[in-house]
């Protein structure tokens, strides 16, 4: 009997039992249905060209979704994501288009600037105890301001102007080129997803991120450093947003000041649709993939079905509310069962 007792339940059941796997499976099924419906409405939707296109649209949303998921799991929110994307684009593009720095040092400077925003967010929330909504609303406005001011309130010239060769490499590496037959823009998202999924599910930092979001006092009393953990989550968020900004820069070939506008909400949508709880402590990055995919499929599919932009926004909004509602209802049912 003792031997049997030490055997753990099988991994699948454990996975299903933990952290909102149920919603991931449900939404995953919904995603398949959605794809099938759009495929029926317009068969071009499932063409190879469109699927590739779709994946390239989803990639940045996945990255900002990962960004928001890390912060949401700590029980906070990051509203500065979209502005950091814009800031990243504008800083990198300004440095390159004015011939100040080549792509590699420009990337490093941009990363540094974005990380400063992330660390500031974490510091304000964990150390200064500002409500995350207010703190990141502030840094959101500041980062957007920086995006506007770096090039004197103008979009930049082409990044190819001073570095025709290395800037072309930059563009290929981040977006246009292919590796092993897959577009680099997609690959970057996949690689970063693997890295961050590892951090969240397999490392001490990841465990602490869940603990802080689940019960901050219990985490503190267990010796978890709340400030460090929160700062790490916000820094990861800023890092991912920065990468999206760089990819945007590579895609457009110049810096646009309004890049990333509204991305923070897309990021919330991707996370929440994928089962990440806005109350903290719950969610997995597999869900964020599915959430980002639902977002992408809806945008792309509705476009194929001939729906105007405004309608697409409404549909995505409704889906976000529904998925949160589902989470709440499921949790309520769970509680009742326990009582």
């Amino acid at each position: 009997m003792e031997k049997q007792a030490t055997k753990r339940a099988n991994p699948f059941r454990r996975l299903m039992a933990i952290r909102g796997m149920g919603q991931v499976v449900t939404v995953g099924a919904g995603l398949l249905v959605l794809c099938a419906v759009f495929g029926v409405i317009n068969e071009n939707f499932v063409s190879k060209a469109n699927v590739t296109n779709l994946l390239r649209q989803i990639a940045p949303i996945l990255l900002i979704g990962i960004a928001q998921s890390f912060v949401l799991i700590t029980g906070n929110i990051d509203l500065s994501i979209g502005s950091v994307v814009g800031m990243s684009t504008m800083i990198a593009a300004t440095l390159m288009s004015r011939g100040i720095l080549g792509p590699v040092p420009a990337i490093l400077v941009t990363l540094l600037c974005c990380l400063v925003v992330g660390v500031t967010n974490g510091f304000l929330v964990a150390q200064c105890k500002l409500p995350p909504f207010i703190a990141t609303l502030g840094t959101m406005t500041i980062a957007r301001g920086i995006a506007q001011i770096v090039n004197n309130n103008y979009n930049t010239d082409s990044i190819m102007k001073f570095y025709p060769e290395s800037a072309q490499t930059f563009k290929d590496l981040l977006y246009y080129g292919k590796t092993l037959g897959v577009y680099n823009g997609i690959l970057i998202a996949v690689v970063l997803w693997v890295v961050f999924n590892f951090i969240l599910s397999k490392t001490r930092t990841g465990r602490h991120i869940y603990a802080v979001g689940s019960n901050i006092e219990a985490a503190r009393l267990s010796g978890v450093n709340i400030t460090t953990t929160t700062i790490k989550a916000y820094a990861i968020s800023a890092f991912c947003s920065c990468v999206v900004g760089l990819i945007t820069c590579a895609t457009v070939g110049q810096g646009t000041m309004d890049a990333g506008n509204g991305y923070e909400l897309y990021a919330v949508a991707a996370s929440v649709i994928g089962g990440v709880s806005t109350l903290g402590g719950q969610g997995i990055l597999l869900g964020t993939v599915i959430g980002a995919a639902v977002w992408g499929v809806l945008q792309n599919g509705l476009q194929f079905a001939g729906a105007p932009v405004a309608l697409r926004n409404i549909v995505v909004g409704v889906i976000v509310v529904l998925s949160v509602l589902m989470d709440v209802v499921v949790r309520k049912g769970h509680k009742k069962k326990k009582a």
Partner: protein, 509 residues
């Protein structure tokens, strides 16, 4: 050779507005259980929180295993020094598994990767050693409160702590689980560990305690071997005065029939419940944990959905579908979990008292009349002798007993006819309990009908005029106080429909 494993000398700690500790001395020895006793607000929790690194002392010195602690203790350094604490409030991460909670903050890893399997096996070993039957992969939020408490104990022991602090560990446990806990404590004692035990349930002490330290108003009062001190002596030192009558009874003849409940059913835990309550009468509801008492009060107050049943107030049938209906009729509830259900802890005492009475306090434009509000709060707090700096402090900052009084105050400020208390004295000290009893008597004399549930039989016998006993969601008996004895109540409280279902009930509790 250091005789004491813990020596705290002249420890002081102040919070804004309160001197929580004033030069307190405290010490504990290996292989002994030291009970730390005192009223609510005496500073026991503050003292052990300093020892475990949650709070930082203002002054004084601490020696652990004879070694002077330099600088401040943090939760991590306290743990490294061999100290573990089981907090009064449960401190678990509900989304994480049992094993993840046990190893939180000191996860095992190989390189960067967490060694989940190793942590699972070790958790399993600890739980087995304590004879706690829980799979370490269970998500903590899915466990009953009592099981979570056991996990908390396992977590504390997993650090191989030499000094274990337990702050009210039994308040959420059933008597069987308390027995199990005591067995664990004896085992730990035999292993030479030192245990610091805080409890309000004085009757528990004789089972495990070797030494007692008594505190009062943030000061050290006395230390003694448990066998050298009488229970009366302990109590009088705790409260600083003799409590002559632990259960002050007031006789007054019950008035007219006030509340009649007929065939009330609400879910599995409230089945076909009928009873009545007269004006100026206190009715106690006894029963084991999970007997459905809390559920009954919730159904009566309109929190939970009722399936069937009739409620009459002064002979008139009334419909209660939501709490507002009950409040309008003058039936109010002081719930079991004060912090969760009874108070808005972020609001001030003044705002809490005003909240259910805003219709009285507001003028026609819905503007709160500050003068009326102040007068109401003044009157309510004076009547109940609520101890606080002023009415504008957060309700969260008060001690348990005083919080309970605020809950009652907010209802009494209105015109209530029936006051229902669910476990009114849980987790509060002897003197505060007596004040709550006096409060109930006061209500009774004003012609209010009082219904209260309690897990403590002496309390039911001491204060109620009539006793209802519940088991398994049904009322299994009613006893006039003259006929009620502990044995009779227990007999009725265990009258399960059939044995099997009864056992399941106890398991879930």
């Amino acid at each position: 050779m250091a005789q004491y494993v813990v020596e705290m000398n002249r420890i002081s700690k102040g919070f804004p507005g309160v001197q929580a500790l004033d030069e307190v001395d405290f010490r504990a020895s290996a292989g002994e259980v030291m009970a730390l006793l005192g009223e609510n607000g005496a500073g026991k929790s503050t003292l052990v929180k300093i020892l475990s690194g949650v709070y930082i002392r203002d002054s004084g010195s601490i020696r652990i295993f004879g070694k002077e602690v330099k600088g401040d203790l943090t939760p991590t350094t306290a743990r490294e020094a061999g100290i573990a604490i089981i907090h009064q409030e449960l401190n678990m991460c509900p989304h994480l598994t049992v094993a993840e909670n046990i190893f939180l903050g000191r996860e095992r890893s190989k390189g960067a990767v967490l060694s989940n399997r190793e942590m699972y096996a070790e958790s399993k070993a600890i739980l087995d050693k304590l004879k706690i039957r829980i799979d370490p992969d269970t998500v903590v939020g899915d466990l009953a409160v009592s099981k979570q408490q056991m996990v908390e104990i396992a977590k504390a022991l997993s650090t191989d702590a030499r000094i274990l602090i337990m702050d009210e560990p039994t308040s959420a446990l059933t008597s069987k689980e308390i027995e199990e806990l005591f067995a664990i404590i004896r085992q730990l004692k035999a292993e030479g560990r030192s245990i610091i035990y805080i409890s309000h349930r004085l009757e528990e002490l004789r089972h495990i305690v070797d030494q007692v330290t008594i505190m009062r108003d943030g000061r050290f009062i006395l230390e003694s071997a448990f066998k050298d001190i009488s229970m009366e002596n302990i109590i009088s030192n705790m409260v600083g005065r003799e409590i002559k009558n632990k259960f002050p009874r007031v006789e007054c003849s019950p008035g007219e029939m006030l509340l009649e409940v007929k065939n009330l059913s609400a879910g599995r835990m409230v089945r076909d419940v009928s009873f009545s309550l007269r004006a100026g009468e206190i009715v106690g509801v006894a029963g084991l944990m999970g007997a459905g008492r809390t559920e009954m009060t919730r159904a009566l107050f309109g929190v939970d959905h009722k399936e069937s049943g009739e409620i009459r107030l002064s002979g008139k049938p009334i419909a209660i579908n939501k709490p507002m209906d009950a409040i309008r009729e003058g039936i109010v509830l002081a719930p079991e979990d004060r912090k969760k259900d009874g108070l808005c802890t972020n609001l001030s005492v003044r705002e809490n008292i005003a909240l259910p009475n805003l219709d009285i306090l507001c003028d026609r434009l819905s503007v709160v009349n500050r003068k009326k509000e102040a007068a109401m709060v003044e009157k309510a707090t004076a009547n109940l002798t609520i101890r606080m700096p002023n009415a504008d402090v957060d309700a969260a900052s008060l001690s348990g007993g005083n919080q309970q009084k605020v809950v009652v105050a907010k209802w009494l400020a209105g015109n209530s006819k029936v006051v229902v208390f669910d476990e009114p004295t849980r987790g509060i000290d002897v003197a505060a309990k007596v004040e709550i009893y006096n409060l109930m008597n006061q209500l009774k004399q004003q012609g209010i009908g009082v219904l209260f549930t309690s897990s403590e039989m002496p309390e039911v016998l001491g204060i109620a005029d009539r006793v209802l006993v519940m088991c398994d969601g049904r009322i299994t008996g009613e006893l006039p106080i003259g006929e009620a004895t502990q044995n009779k109540i227990l007999e009725l409280a265990t009258r399960f429909e059939n044995k099997l279902e009864g056992e399941r009930e106890v398991q879930q509790a």
